[in-house]
C-alpha cells in the first residue's frame, strides 16, 4: 500500500461540517441537491440544511414533531420541503427561506408501502412504493398535488440517479433490475439490466453513475470461493438506452467495497485493506468481443491523511480523521460522509500523483488526455520524460500518437466547420476535447522548454513529426523551422538533405529563405532552397537567388515576361561583363513587350548609353 506522500487520493480539505448523529439528532443526505439535513428532536429543536459547499449559507428552520423522520428532501428550487414519517404518506411544506408555511400531504395508493420519494424535476415528485411509481406535480400556491403518471411494478428497493433521472427498481432480491427514466412528467421503462439469472444484488452493491457522458449501472459482484470480487459495468448504450454489459473491473480482493466516480474514473474503496483502486473504462483492456476486462490503472492507494479541528478545552484541537471508517457512507459521484464525525468530503484526485505511479508513459498519456485538468499534468509529464537521460523514444512516440489522435479529430472538425456547411447553416456545435495539445502547445511547452541537448531535440522532434505524419497532420512552420535549425546547429546537412528528400520537412517559403541564409555554411542548403522554391513554383524568389549569385541570364529565362528591365540591366552592368550587358540589352530590345519599354523609359537610356560607350555603335 502506498505511503501518504505519494497518494493520489485526497479528501477535500474544507469538508462540510454538521452536527454529528446522536440520540437526539438525526442526519439525512439528499443526493439530488447534495444537502445534509440535521434534524434535532424530530425538527422541534431545529433543522439545519447545509449544501455541498461549506461556503453556502445553511438554512435553518423548525418544524413540528409528528414522529420520527424517515426521509427529508427539499425541492430542486428549495421552495417545498417534503418529509416522510410514515410508510403511506408524504408531508409537504412550502418554504420561504426562513420558515415553513402551509402544510399539505399526499398518500400513496392503498396497500402500498412507500420505499422513498424523489424530487425528479422542478415541482415533480415521484413516490416509489413496493407496487410501483406514482408521479405527481406539486402546485405550492394551491397546496395541492396532481397525479401525472404511475406505473405498476414490484419493487423491493431502488436507486436513483439525479443526473440522468434514471432509477433502478430492484425486485426478486435484486436479481431483477429494472431501469426507469423519469423525465418531464413521464415514466419510461427501459430494458432490464441483463444479469446472470437468479444472481441477487444488494442495494449497496448497485451504483448509478455517469461515465464519459453515458449513464451506467455499476454492480458489485462478490464471488464465492477463492475468486475475488468484480464490478460489472452496464452502460446504457444499447438501442433505447438498453443497458449493455460492457466492462468488468477485476478487483483482485474480497470483502466490503464502496464505489465513487471522479472525473470519469471509477474508484473502488476496499475497507479491509483501507485502500482504493482506480479504473478507467476508456483504457484498452483484454476483451472477449463484447466485454472488456480491466485491471487497476495504478497501484492501490489510500487517501491522504486529513484532519479537522474540534473544539477543545482551551483552544481547538486537530483531530485526525479515521480513513475508511465503518461510519463512512459514500454518495455519487464523489461524496464521502462520516455521520459520527459530522463531515461531508468531496474526493479529489491528484492527477500528477496518479500519473507518477503509472510507469507506462503511453497509458499515462491516455489517462491524462481524458481528464478535465489533464493538460498541464500531461505536459509536465512529457517534459519530465524527455528530460530524462535516455528518454524512452518508443513510449514517447506512442504518447504522441495518443495526443495527435485527439488533435487530428479536432483539426478535422475545425476544417469541416469552416468549409463543409453552407454560410447560413447553424454553426455545428464543437465539442472541445478535454485535453488538446496542438503543435503550438508542443512547441511552446515542450520543445522550447526541454533541455538544450541538440541530438535529443532532434530525436524527439523526429518522433513527433512521425506521429503527425501518421495522423496526416501537416507540420507547422515553427516545428519545421526547429528541426531545420536543430540539424544545422549540429552541422548535420546530410541528414537535413535526406529529411527534405523524403518530404519530412514541408515546403514553405520562409523555410526556403532560412536555407538560403545558410548557404555559406554548406553548399547543399542553396540547392535545397532552390528545389523547395521550384516545388512551390516561387519563380520570383528563384530569380532573386540566381541574381544574387550572378546567374543573370538564368534568372532572366525564368522571369520571362515579368522581368524588371532596370533590375536586370543594373545587375548586368554591375557584373562588369560587357557581353552580359550586351545579351541582356539585346534580349529586351528583341522582346516585343520590352522593346517599347526600353524606348520609352528614360531611366533605361543610361544603360543604352553605357552600352554605346563600350561597343561604340550608334544604335541599339
Amino acid at each position: 500500500m502506498s505511503q501518504d506522500t505519494d497518494s493520489y487520493l485526497e479528501l477535500s480539505d474544507d469538508p462540510v461540517r454538521f452536527e454529528p448523529v446522536n440520540q437526539l439528532t438525526n442526519v439525512f443526505f439528499d443526493d439530488t441537491n447534495k444537502d445534509v439535513f440535521t434534524v434535532r428532536s424530530g425538527g422541534v429543536m431545529g433543522v439545519v440544511v447545509k449544501g455541498p459547499s461549506e461556503n453556502n449559507k445553511p438554512l435553518n428552520f423548525r418544524m413540528e414533531d409528528r414522529g420520527s423522520v424517515l426521509s427529508i428532501k427539499l425541492s430542486l428550487d428549495r421552495k417545498v420541503l417534503a418529509v416522510q414519517r410514515t410508510n403511506t404518506s408524504i408531508e409537504l411544506m412550502n418554504f420561504n427561506g426562513d420558515s415553513l408555511e402551509s402544510e399539505y400531504s399526499i398518500s400513496c395508493k392503498k396497500n402500498s408501502n412507500i420505499l422513498g420519494f424523489i424530487w425528479s424535476n422542478l415541482n415533480e415528485l415521484a413516490i416509489v412504493t413496493d407496487h410501483g411509481i406514482e408521479l405527481y406535480t406539486v402546485i405550492p400556491d394551491k397546496k395541492s398535488l396532481k397525479q401525472l403518471k404511475s406505473i405498476s411494478v414490484t419493487v423491493q428497493w431502488f436507486v436513483w440517479c439525479p443526473k440522468n433521472k434514471i432509477a433502478i427498481l430492484a425486485s426478486a432480491h435484486g436479481s431483477q433490475l429494472q431501469p426507469v427514466s423519469i423525465k418531464q412528467g413521464c415514466i419510461n421503462k427501459l430494458h432490464k439490466v441483463e444479469t446472470e439469472s437468479g444472481r441477487m444484488a444488494l442495494e449497496r452493491d448497485v451504483t448509478l453513475a455517469t461515465l464519459y457522458n453515458v449513464p451506467a449501472v455499476l454492480i458489485l459482484r462478490h464471488q464465492s470461493g477463492p475468486q475475488t470480487a468484480e464490478v460489472h459495468v452496464h452502460t446504457l448504450t444499447g438501442p433505447g438506452l438498453a443497458p449493455v454489459k460492457a466492462h468488468v473491473l477485476k478487483l483482485g480482493l474480497a470483502g466490503r467495497f464502496a464505489i465513487n466516480v471522479v472525473d470519469d474514473l471509477i474508484l473502488v474503496h476496499h475497507q479491509a485493506s483501507r485502500s482504493s483502486q482506480i479504473f478507467d473504462i476508456s483504457l484498452p483492456g483484454e476483451s472477449d468481443g463484447t466485454v472488456k476486462y480491466h485491471t487497476m490503472v495504478a497501484p492501490r492507494s489510500s487517501f491522504k491523511a486529513t484532519s479537522i479541528s474540534l473544539p477543545g478545552l482551551v483552544e481547538p484541537q486537530a483531530h485526525d480523521c479515521e480513513l475508511y471508517s465503518p461510519n463512512w457512507v459514500v454518495f455519487q459521484p464523489n461524496i464521502v460522509i462520516d455521520a459520527k464525525l459530522g463531515c461531508l468530503w468531496h474526493i479529489n484526485l491528484s492527477l500528477l500523483q496518479l500519473c507518477n505511479q503509472i510507469n507506462d508513459l503511453s497509458i499515462c498519456t491516455q489517462v491524462a488526455l481524458k481528464r478535465s485538468n489533464g493538460k498541464p499534468v500531461l505536459l509536465k509529464l512529457l517534459l519530465k520524460t524527455i528530460n530524462q537521460n535516455q528518454p524512452p523514444l518508443d513510449k514517447l512516440q506512442e504518447a504522441f500518437n495518443h495526443i495527435n489522435f485527439v488533435y487530428r479529430d479536432w483539426v478535422e472538425m475545425e476544417l469541416q466547420s469552416q468549409s463543409g456547411s453552407p454560410p447560413n447553416a447553424p454553426f455545428p456545435k464543437k465539442t472541445i476535447p478535454r485535453v488538446l495539445i496542438d503543435q503550438s502547445t508542443m512547441y511552446e511547452e515542450i520543445f522550447q522548454k526541454m533541455e538544450a541537448d541538440l541530438s535529443k531535440t532532434e530525436r524527439v522532434l523526429v518522433c513527433y513529426l512521425a506521429s503527425l505524419a501518421e495522423y496526416g497532420i501537416p507540420a507547422q512552420l515553427n516545428i519545421n523551422t526547429l528541426i531545420v535549425s536543430t540539424l544545422v546547429r549540429q552541422n548535420k546537412f546530410t541528414a537535413l538533405q535526406q529529411l527534405l528528400q523524403y518530404g519530412v520537412i514541408s515546403d514553405m517559403k520562409p523555410l526556403a529563405s532560412l536555407l538560403v541564409s545558410l548557404g555559406n555554411m554548406h553548399p547543399s542548403s542553396t540547392q535545397m532552397a532552390l528545389d523547395m522554391l521550384a516545388r512551390l513554383n516561387a519563380s520570383e524568389e528563384i530569380q532573386e537567388i540566381l541574381l544574387s549569385e550572378g546567374q543573370i541570364l538564368s534568372a532572366l529565362k525564368i522571369a520571362k515576361d515579368k522581368a524588371d528591365p532596370r533590375k536586370y540591366l543594373t545587375a548586368a552592368q554591375n557584373s562588369g561583363d560587357p557581353t552580359l550587358l550586351h545579351s541582356v540589352l539585346y534580349y529586351f530590345r528583341n522582346h516585343p513587350k520590352f522593346s517599347i519599354v526600353l524606348q520609352n523609359d528614360q531611366r533605361l537610356h543610361t544603360f543604352i548609353n553605357e552600352y554605346n560607350d563600350i561597343f561604340s555603335t550608334s544604335e541599339v
Partner: protein
C-alpha cells in the same frame, strides 16, 4: 590471323615510396626497397625496377614545370599510365593497355590502338578508389608505418590489393566510376520516418553506436554518415559484402528451410559481420574496423552489419568500444521484430510503384548525379555491378565521360549536345550542382527535335527539383 580486338587491360599496378630506396647518387643501393607493392608478381625484379624508375623520373621531370600540381597521367601510343600521390612520397600507379582493333585491308592486317577510347577521368577515379578502399580498412599507409612497421604495410597491401584488383572489371568502368555515386530508394514519408525513429531508438539505447545506415537491397534509405564516407562504405557493401551474403542466403545456408514448427515466428535477421549465428556463437566473430576521414580527422569504427529479409542495417560503433556477445544478442532481440514490420512497409511501397514499361532502344536513357549527396540514378545501367550490362552503346558512355570532363568549364549551369556517327545523340546538362546525361538514338532527328525530347524527359524525371531552364 583474323580481326583481333582487345579491350582495355590492366598491365600493372604498383605502389612505391622513393624515400625507402637508396639515397640519391647511391647507384649501387637496392632499388627494390622502394617498391611496396607490385602487380603482377610475374614481372621480374628487373622489369619492376625499370617501371618504377621510369615513373620516378617522369614525376621528377614534370615537377620542374608545375610544382603545385603533380603529374596525373602519361599517354603513349600503346599504354596509358595514371599516377596518384595519396600521401607524401607514396605513389600509386596504374598502367593500362589501350584497346585494340585489328583491321584487314587489302590482305594486310593493321593493328590500331584506340587512344580516344580510354578516358583518363574514369581510370583516375578507379585508381583513387583502390586507395580509398584500402584506407577504409587499414587507415593511411603512414598510419601502418607509425603503428606497425614496413613489413606489415607490405603484407597488408599484398593481401588487400591482390584481391581488390581481381575484383574490378577494368574494361567495364565508365562514368559511374567517376561519380562513385549512391543509389537512394524512393520511399513514402511515413515509412521513412518510421525508419528514422527506428534508427533513433537504437542510437539512443546503445549510445556507443555513433552512426547508422539503412539500406534496402542496394539502395540507401538513411545514412547518418557524410556522403564522402558513405561512398566507400556503399561500394564495399554493394560490391563485396552484400553480394557474398545474398549468395549464401540463396543457397539456404543461413536460413533453414524447415523450421521446427510452422507456428514459431521466423527469425529473419542475423548479423553478417560479427556473430553470424547467434545461437551457436561463443565469440563475437569478425567485425571489420573502418577508418573514416571526412570530418577533418580520422575516426575509427567497428562496422557491424545486420541483415533481415532485404534490409541491411549498418552500425558504426566507436572504435574504442569493447564489443561483447551479449550486446549483439540484445541488439538482435530489439531489432529483429521491429525490422520485419518496417521491411514489410518498404516492400509494400515498392510493389506499388509503377514499373517503367520495358525500354526499347528508342526510349531515351539517362544518368542523373547530384554532387552534394552523391545520389545517382541510371537507366543506362541495368545493375550497379560494373558487369557491362548497359542499354546504350559504349561510345555514348565514353562521350559522357568526356563531357563530364569539359562540363567543369561551363560554370554553374550549362548544356552540351553531341551527335555520334551511328545516330546517337548524347546530351548533358549541369545545373544547381547536379548533372544530367541523356542518350537518345533517333535517325534523321534534328537538334530542335532532340531538345524537345530532352525537355520532356527533364520534366518527368526532375519535377521535384530546381533545374536551370533550357
Amino acid at each position: 590471323m583474323g580481326g583481333m580486338n582487345k579491350e582495355i587491360e590492366l598491365q600493372s599496378f604498383f605502389i612505391f615510396n622513393s624515400a625507402f630506396g637508396p639515397k640519391e647518387g647511391d647507384l649501387e643501393g637496392d632499388q627494390l626497397k622502394k617498391i611496396l607493392y607490385y602487380y603482377p608478381s610475374t614481372d621480374n625484379t628487373r622489369v619492376q625496377e625499370d617501371n618504377v624508375g621510369l615513373v620516378e623520373g617522369i614525376v621528377q621531370f614534370t615537377q620542374t614545370f608545375n610544382p603545385s600540381s603533380p603529374v596525373s597521367s602519361l599517354h603513349t601510343s600503346k599504354l596509358r599510365q595514371l599516377y596518384f600521390q595519396p600521401e607524401p612520397d607514396f605513389w600509386v600507379v596504374l598502367t593500362l593497355t589501350l584497346p585494340i582493333v585489328t583491321k584487314v585491308k587489302e590482305n594486310a592486317t593493321s593493328v590500331e590502338y584506340l587512344e580516344e577510347d580510354l578516358q583518363d577521368n574514369v581510370y583516375e577515379a578507379a585508381l583513387k578508389q583502390a586507395y580509398y578502399m584500402y584506407r577504409l580498412f587499414w587507415g593511411t599507409f603512414q598510419n601502418t608505418l607509425d603503428k606497425n612497421d614496413l613489413d606489415t604495410l607490405k603484407l597488408r597491401m599484398e593481401i588487400f590489393f591482390t584481391a581488390y584488383l581481381k575484383s574490378i572489371k577494368i574494361s567495364n568502368l565508365d562514368i559511374l566510376t567517376i561519380f562513385g555515386g549512391i543509389q537512394y530508394l524512393p520511399l513514402d514519408r511515413q515509412t521513412f520516418l518510421n525508419i528514422q525513429c527506428f534508427v533513433n531508438f537504437i542510437e539512443s539505447k546503445w549510445n556507443y553506436i555513433a552512426h547508422t545506415a539503412f539500406l534496402y537491397n542496394e539502395h540507401i534509405i538513411w545514412s547518418g554518415l557524410e556522403p564522402n564516407d558513405m561512398q566507400m562504405i556503399y561500394q564495399y557493401l554493394t560490391g563485396t559484402l552484400l553480394p557474398a551474403n545474398v549468395e549464401t542466403e540463396l543457397q539456404g545456408g543461413s536460413m533453414p528451410r524447415n523450421t521446427a514448427s510452422p507456428f514459431i515466428s521466423l527469425h529473419h535477421g542475423r548479423f553478417i559481420t560479427g556473430p553470424t549465428n547467434l545461437k551457436q556463437a561463443k565469440t563475437i566473430g569478425k567485425v571489420p574496423k573502418v577508418y573514416l576521414f571526412s570530418q577533418g580527422q580520422v575516426r575509427e569504427y567497428h562496422l557491424v552489419v545486420y541483415r533481415a529479409l532485404s534490409a541491411t542495417v549498418c552500425f558504426f560503433i566507436e572504435g574504442k568500444t569493447e564489443l561483447a556477445l551479449n550486446d549483439f544478442k540484445a541488439l538482435d532481440e530489439f531489432i529483429n521484430p521491429k525490422l520485419s514490420s518496417i521491411v514489410n512497409d518498404i516492400a509494400e511501397y515498392c510493389s506499388k510503384q509503377v514499373v517503367t514499361p520495358s525500354s526499347t532502344p528508342e526510349t531515351p536513357k539517362f544518368i542523373y548525379f547530384n554532387k552534394l549527396n552523391l545520389a545517382y540514378k541510371s537507366s543506362v545501367h541495368l545493375d550497379n555491378k560494373h558487369t557491362g550490362n548497359v542499354t546504350c552503346n559504349k561510345d555514348s558512355l565514353r562521350v559522357m565521360s568526356d563531357m563530364k570532363h569539359t562540363n567543369s568549364y561551363l560554370g554553374l549551369d550549362g548544356e552540351n549536345i553531341v551527335k555520334t556517327t551511328n545516330d546517337y545523340w548524347v546530351f548533358s546538362k549541369t545545373s544547381n550542382l547536379r548533372e544530367f546525361y541523356i542518350v537518345l538514338q533517333q535517325k534523321n532527328a534534328s537538334l530542335i527535335g532532340i531538345s524537345e525530347e530532352v525537355k520532356r524527359l527533364c520534366e518527368t524525371e526532375l519535377d521535384r527539383i530546381f533545374f536551370h531552364p533550357m
